[in-house]
């Protein structure tokens, strides 16, 4: 069994937004599964983290939700990205890329590069 890690603080929101951006409206369970899948099952999502996070994002206006029929004819709450959320995703993606790039450079640095 692969070692599973907890989600780093603050990154889950980004993952949720990105998943909704790529896959379109999702219900909570589907979202959890997709995120775990994309992580290659290296992540497990705690429901106690996910649902409060969804609520918070909705309060912030990054996502919106409404009830609708799901694939097996059961009713479910679907979350979708709003225009605000899309802008937030873009800016956070840029930030994140800048940070990883910076960190990568530091990790790649060797002693003779600096001499």
């Amino acid at each position: 069994m692969k070692k599973k890690t907890d989600v780093r603080q603050g990154t889950l929101a980004l993952m949720v937004l990105k998943t909704l951006d790529v896959l379109g409206p999702q219900h909570g369970y589907g979202l959890a599964r997709r995120i775990e899948q994309i992580s290659g099952d290296r992540l497990t999502l705690n429901t106690g983290t996910l649902y409060p996070l969804l609520l918070r994002l909705e309060q912030e206006g990054a996502i919106a939700s409404e009830r609708g029929p799901s694939e097996n004819n059961r009713s479910a709450r679907f979350y979708r990205l709003t225009a605000v959320g899309r802008r937030q995703l873009q800016s956070e993606t840029r930030d994140w890329e800048r940070t990883t790039e910076l960190i990568r450079r530091f990790f790649a640095a060797k002693a003779d590069d600096l001499s």
Partner: protein, 893 residues
């Protein structure tokens, strides 16, 4: 932005208590169902699939908590929880709650009343559009404490023509006495002489007709037009719809009505007699006769300005400084003293009265604050005692894992709730106190237009003070109560644990006693000066009526005016019940204008500039008979002393002693100012104020022999002595008699001298009443505090006292223990309080008459009364300690 939005949503969820718990359950059910399905699809048996799913999803309650915390605002929720607990605990202890609320209500109520007074007097904007942009300009003389003196018209015109920081600058003289002939009879009114831009500056719209046109205010005396006050139009002109264009006689001149002012507008002096009419400044001669209101040196007008857009008070002040510099250089104003123009926002009542009332309001505010501190100290003491009784409860809360901060917050919420409830109850107190204050600070004898209401600002400020009081009151008891050692508290090993706490309590008590001594000392001083004041004049002011007769206002010739004055005296003296009547220029009251002049005896060849100076005033025949004040030697003025007769003078004892030590005053000749007089009599020194002040040297000159070039020499304040009963009952008869002589002559300020004296000292009386109330409250509160503290001390040491008695201590020893504690607290409080009185006493000095601010009798009376209360408060608990049954004491745990 995002955070704000989220905060607002959560706040809404917290406040409405509406939670989407339903939604969470749905989501969980859905999640669980899908998880189970997944497990089933993976081949698990039914039960296991379900169990596995539940395990993955997690404990529903923990999830719900996390979810709920996301939804609402946890700290706010906790606060509501604390509030609920606090309310429950307070209702469980109704005695404590009632005592604390009542105590705080008194303290907070008095503060609200003083706040509403201060707001109305100093801060309330004028009731016009954008009143915050209005400023007044007054003259300030270098080195003079009083400010805001009037300015002359040419000076105003210079400012008006050159200032750029004002959108409008208007001049007004708003206390013009006006005799208005209305269909409902002559009316002794108060009018305003204003520039044409006055109404535009105030952004008013007429209720009818129009206001003044610029051309109506351009040429002196050409356009007699008038705007009527709405109420005057309604009540005196019977709301005549066809009033416009009609003629109204004012001070003997016919004016044409051009408009009616909007309802509720009474002029710019708030709390003053309302303006009944407004006339343009070009008609100044009708409103003011003592000098030409439009000329240099005739300082009668006040300036009102509206700041231009973007200009601040500082900008305008800077510009005025520059303009004043130019003005002084270009326009000789005849003013020898150096002066400047000072701007201030137009707020509250007339600035002159603001200056008069400011010290006393400050004093009242200080006293109210002291009462509040005493009340707060008392409640803090109560809470400390309660905290001790609640040790077990608090310890259990701490032991169960409540953080100290949380428990402190709980206790603080309790005290804030108490204070806020007290503040609300305090508004009842403040309604009473506001009424008392209103009586003193409104104008006596004329319509009182000062409105003291608990407006939203006052309520808000009162509420803020209440919350602050709650926090201050609660914080140290809360800190103390939670510091207890948990284990010891649960085991109830109380003995000794409270030392630090009782020290704090005793400290509070000492402060309380000290502050009470200060308040009682202040009350004592004011009461003493009040009695000095009332014994002051040396004659019975209630037997004397004074009426102001002003023929000068209707432009009579001197001959006609004086004929009227003679006729008035003759007819009054003929009335049954009137002993004597005499004209004078001022009332015998302190501070009324009696110009000082050099008095030189014949043969005095000394330097005229260093000659003896005495105050001078004019009185008629039988003036001292009218006053009922004694003649020492010679005679007083009588009917022999006519206009054309030899010039005569009376001097008071102070002058006589000074100029004729040998007692040869009668028959001597003196030069007073430009004229030479024969001294015909010496009269007693009138004590205006108090028995202690040194009497003023006064020379009395004959009313009929005045210099007739002054317009006001036609006018009088005629004194009338009533032989039996009070003068008040005779006033209608007096008015009828005067009206029968000539209905056109304005008769005003019809008053009993005693009332006038009261009015003049209304501030002192207000201070006396309030200080007596404050002092009484302080006395009661300190007594209760002392009693509660000592009773509590006994309760706390019951066991210890039981042991002492069991081991053979005598009852007296035990009683002494309590007694010593009590007297020590009381003694230190009194000592501290007296020291504070001696240091702070001079602050009261300007309100005191004939009493030193360190008057021992006044200062010691308070502590003595307090001592009686304290003795009782000490004796009761001491007796209880002595009667304690040792067995019961030991079992008291």
């Amino acid at each position: 932005m995002r955070t704000l939005r989220r905060f607002l949503m959560r706040l809404k969820a917290s406040l409405t208590g509406r939670r989407d718990d339903e939604r969470l359950r749905e989501e969980l059910d859905d999640h669980l169902a899908r998880e189970t399905e997944e497990n089933l699809r993976a081949g698990m048996p039914d039960a296991k699939a379900r169990r596995q799913a539940v395990l993955t999803v997690g404990r529903a309650t923990a999830l719900a908590d996390a979810y709920r915390d996301e939804q609402g605002l946890p700290s706010l929720d906790h606060l509501f929880q604390d509030l609920r607990i606090a309310l429950r605990r307070l209702t469980q202890a109704p005695g404590f709650t009632a005592a604390a609320v009542a105590t705080l209500a008194l303290g907070l109520g008095l503060n609200s009343a003083v706040l509403s007074l201060a707001y109305a007097l100093f801060l309330k904007p004028l009731p016009v559009d954008e009143a915050s942009r209005l400023v007044i300009v007054g003259r300030v003389f270098t080195g003079e404490a009083r400010r805001g003196f009037p300015i002359s018209f040419p000076e105003y015109a210079y400012y008006r023509d050159h200032a750029r920081t004002f959108s409008d600058l208007a001049a007004h003289y708003s206390t013009s006495p006006m005799n208005i002939i209305t269909p409902a009879g002559p009316m002794n009114g108060m009018g305003a002489v204003v520039t044409a831009n006055y109404f535009r500056l105030l952004r008013l719209q007429p209720a009818m007709g129009r206001f003044f046109l610029p051309e109506e205010d351009a040429v002196p005396d050409r356009h007699p037009v008038v705007v009527l006050n709405y109420d005057v139009w309604r009540t005196r002109f019977d709301a005549d719809a066809a009033i416009l264009g009609k003629a109204v006689r004012i001070n003997g001149t016919a004016f044409t009505v051009v408009g009616v002012a909007p309802e509720g507008f009474n002029g710019v002096y708030v709390g003053f007699q309302p303006n009944d009419v407004w006339i343009p400044s070009a008609m100044f001669s009708v409103g003011y006769r003592y000098c030409n209101g439009l000329a240099r040196g005739c300082n009668t007008i006040d300036i009102l300005g509206r700041l231009a857009d973007g200009a601040s008070v500082q900008d305008a002040q800077a510009e005025m400084n520059v303009l004043t510099g130019q003005l002084v250089a270009i326009v000789p104003t005849g003013e020898s003293r150096t002066w400047s123009a000072e701007l201030r926002p137009a707020r509250g009542i007339r600035f002159m009265e603001q200056q008069r009332d400011a010290p006393i309001v400050r004093l009242l505010a200080g006293a109210a604050a002291l009462v509040l501190i005493i009340a707060a100290a008392n409640v803090a003491g109560l809470m400390l005692a309660r905290g001790l009784r609640r040790r077990k409860e608090i310890a259990v809360r701490l032991a169960l894992g409540a953080s100290r901060g949380r428990v402190i917050r709980l206790l603080l919420v309790e005290s804030v709730v108490l204070a806020v409830v007290g503040g609300a109850a305090g508004f009842v107190v403040s309604i009473w106190a506001t009424n008392v204050l209103h009586g003193y600070f409104g104008q006596v004898g004329s319509p009182n237009t000062l409105v003291l209401s608990l407006g939203p600002r006052v309520v808000l400020a009162g509420f803020a003070i209440a919350v602050l009081t709650g926090i201050v009151t609660g914080v140290s008891p809360a800190l103390q109560s939670t510091r207890a050692d948990t284990v010891a508290a649960i085991k109830e090993e109380a003995a000794g644990a409270g030392t630090r706490r009782s020290r704090l309590r005793e400290g509070l008590l000492v402060v309380q006693v000290a502050l009470s001594v200060v308040l009682l000392g202040g009350s004592g001083l004011l009461v003493r000066s009040f009695f000095q004041l009332h014994r002051g004049p040396g004659f019975d002011p209630d037997a004397i009526a004074i009426v102001r007769l002003r023929p000068s206002l209707v432009a009579y010739t001197n001959a006609r005016a004086w004929a009227f004055q003679h006729e008035a005296i003759a007819r009054l003296e003929a009335l049954p019940g009137i002993a004597a009547a005499s004209p004078a220029v001022v009332a015998p009251l302190p501070g009324w204008g009696r110009p000082a002049m050099a008095v030189r005896v014949d043969g005095d060849t000394g330097d005229p500039s260093s000659a003896f100076q005495a105050s001078t005033t004019y009185v008629g025949a039988r003036y001292f008979k009218t006053l009922g004040a004694g003649l020492v030697a010679g005679r007083e003025f009588d009917d022999r002393d006519t206009e054309r007769g030899p010039l005569v003078a009376l001097v008071n004892e102070t002058v006589a002693r000074r100029l004729w030590p040998a007692g040869t005053a009668i028959g001597s000749h003196v030069t007073i100012g430009p004229r030479r007089y024969e001294v015909v009599g010496v009269v007693r020194d009138l004590q205006w104020l108090s028995a202690v002040e040194s009497p003023e040297p006064i020379a009395y000159l004959n009313y009929w022999q005045q210099d007739r070039t002054n317009a006001w020499s036609q006018d009088s304040r005629t004194h009338i002595r009533v032989s039996r009963g009070g003068a008040a009952a005779m006033l209608p008869e007096i008015l009828r008699t005067l009206g029968a002589i000539d209905p056109d002559v304005p008769v005003s300020d019809v008053q009993v001298l005693g009332t006038q004296l009261d009015t003049q000292f209304s501030a002192v009386r207000a201070a006396k009443t309030m200080f007596l109330v404050f002092g009484g409250l302080a006395l009661v509160l300190s007594g209760i505090g002392l009693y509660a503290a000592l009773a509590f001390l006994i309760g706390q040491r019951t066991r210890e006292i039981g042991v002492r008695i069991a081991l053979g201590a005598s009852r007296a020893d035990v009683g002494g223990l309590v007694f010593r504690r009590g007297t020590m607290i009381f003694g230190s409080g009194v000592a501290a309080g007296l020291a504070a009185c001696v240091v702070a006493g001079p602050l009261l000095a300007h309100l005191l008459y004939g009493v030193s601010p360190r008057d021992p009798l006044a200062l010691l009376a308070g502590p003595m009364v307090l001592g009686v209360v304290a003795a009782l408060a000490i004796w009761l608990p001491a007796r209880r300690a002595m009667r304690l049954d040792p067995v019961a004491g030991l079992r008291s745990e």
